[in-house]
């Protein structure tokens, strides 16, 4: 399968041409956030304090991950994706502000899929549990907000050929629905 290389920040055109099932290699800056960081960010948005967000979501990618602690001599700890549905209540707000993609694992809610169609965003899956391997594509890592949250703090990663698969595209396609059809035995 051909692999598509993308470098952040992403434009509407970059993500609009993506289709479910495509393998993408991400390069550039990406940001991390899990349950607790999302709650804080969306609380800020709802309070109208967008300028206090840890980063401007416009054109960016957020990776749902809470890395394990960094061992001395390493760039980052193991860092595979966490299950995405827990971020579903918060994700539409971020797509609305121009977030172009999120990376996680597992199904998204109809509301998130709708938000991605409306605001031109996509959802990528990274391989859940391949955390030691995924860490290899992260070239630098630093905490940029909420250090009190530990593993749940917002990190900024510089990634090189970070491998993901397109699960939801801007047309509302869903690889989790389509992918299994071929293999299901009635």
């Amino acid at each position: 399968m051909t692999q598509i290389r993308l470098t952040t920040p992403l434009s509407d055109e970059d993500v609009s041409k993506l289709r479910i099932g495509q393998q993408v290699l991400i390069n550039g800056l990406i940001y991390t956030g899990r349950d607790a960081a999302h709650k804080r960010m969306v609380d800020l948005i709802q309070a109208g304090k967008i300028n206090e967000l840890p980063f401007d979501p416009k054109g960016q990618i957020i990776y749902y991950v809470g890395p394990s602690p960094t061992k001395p001599g390493k760039v980052v700890g193991s860092c595979g994706p966490t299950t995405s549905y827990r971020m579903d209540p918060y994700a539409p707000e971020l797509y609305k502000l121009g977030l172009k993609a999120s990376i996680g694992k597992g199904k998204r809610s109809p509301e998130v899929i709708e938000a991605m169609k409306k605001y031109k965003g996509v959802y990528f899956a990274a391989i859940g549990g391949a955390a030691a391997l995924i860490a290899k594509s992260i070239k630098s890592a630093k905490v940029i907000a909420y250090p009190d949250l530990g593993a749940e703090a917002v990190h900024e990663f510089v990634v090189e050929d970070f491998p993901v698969v397109v699960v939801n595209d801007t047309l509302g396609g869903d690889l989790y629905q389509e992918g299994i059809k071929i293999y299901a035995v009635k």
Binding site: M1, G21, A36, V65, G66, P67, S68, P69, T70, K71, K74, G77, S78, C79, G80, T82, T83, Y85, K105, G106, K107, A125, I127, G128, G129, A130, A131, A132, L133, A135, K136, L149, G150, A151, V165, L175, Y176, E178, G179, I180, K181, I182, Y183, A184, V185
Partner: protein
């Protein structure tokens, strides 16, 4: 008691011990702590040979190319974790401990559960393992050292202490379920429930998974035996031939759902289905399905 009498009692005990009448084994809490700390790290760094073997078999049988690629990646991931001694998954789990305590064992040096908790604290700290436990489910403040563990103890005859440490990830635990069924639902009801849980889980619990199915007992017993079933070696046969057949049938059925590795399509959603049963009340048929992600980690030691 006067000193002379105490000495006499000890003297008598000594004589009985010498004759082999009473055998008591003493285990130091420091040894327990050391072993727990070591196992917490080893469980997270070294994936079991049975899981690796199951990955290779799944690779051979997988019909989806993406599925095959994923299985290869998981094998590679386990090799990196082993070689670099880093956790195979960033979710280093809730430290679930099963204790099999011989009734002729004496623990010396303090509180047994505190010794285990200290082992978890040291293992997760020294091993650079992620601390994923919050002190209260609603307050949600991280305890900072992955304690407390969840400890299940069984007292058995003998003079040994067997400690099994099974770090359990949150993603797959969240997709687990329990149902109090009617006896009339029978084996068909059990099958339908297992399939329903698998369907609902889909890509979320990091397939290929292992399904631990607990049937019978009370509500909490069903959940506990479902978790115990996950400790069984993958590829081993259920001792009960009827349950062995049911395991094979359920494995085929869940894999025929088409989810495959990571839920991206394929025929290897589950590596194994393990069933454990327990006598049930005349009114009840509890069924629990505990899902384990592919990082099916556990280590044991007998002291």
């Amino acid at each position: 008691m006067p000193m002379v009498q105490i000495l006499l009692v000890y003297n008598k005990l000594d004589q009985q011990l010498a004759k082999g009448g009473i055998k008591i084994k003493t285990i130091k809490t420091s040894v327990i702590t050391e072993n727990v700390a070591r196992m917490a790290q080893e469980a997270n760094f070294y994936l079991g040979a049975d899981v690796m073997e199951a990955f290779k078999k799944a690779y051979e049988s997988e019909v989806s190319n993406t599925g095959k690629e994923i299985l290869q990646i998981l094998i590679k991931n386990a090799e990196i974790a082993r070689d670099e001694q880093v956790p195979m998954c960033q979710d280093c789990g809730y430290a679930v401990i099963f204790l099999e305590l011989g009734q002729d064992v004496r623990i010396e040096g303090g509180d047994l559960y505190e010794a285990i908790t200290e082992g978890v604290r040291q293992g997760y700290t020294k091993g650079y393992l992620r601390k994923s436990i919050v002190s209260h489910p609603l307050d949600r403040k991280n305890t900072g050292d992955n304690t407390p563990p969840v400890i299940h103890t069984t007292i058995v005859p003998g003079e040994h202490l067997k400690i099994t440490l099974a770090p359990k990830g949150g993603g797959s635990e969240n997709m687990s379920a329990i149902k109090m069924m009617k006896p009339a639902d029978g084996v068909e009801g059990v099958k339908n429930f297992v399939l329903e849980v698998a369907k609902n889980a889909g890509p979320n619990p990091c397939p290929p998974v292992i399904l631990g199915v607990g049937i019978g007992g009370t509500m909490e017993k069903a959940a506990l035996i479902a978790k115990e079933a996950l400790l069984r070696e993958i590829g081993s046969k259920n001792e009960d031939p009827v349950m062995a057949k049911l395991e094979a049938e359920l494995l085929e059925k869940v894999n025929n759902l088409g989810f495959g590795p990571q839920g991206l399509g394929g025929r290897n959603f589950a590596l194994a289905v393990h069933i454990k049963t327990y006598p049930a009340h005349i009114a009840s048929l509890p069924v629990a399905v505990n899902i384990n992600c592919h990082a099916a980690r556990h280590k044991e030691v007998t002291l």
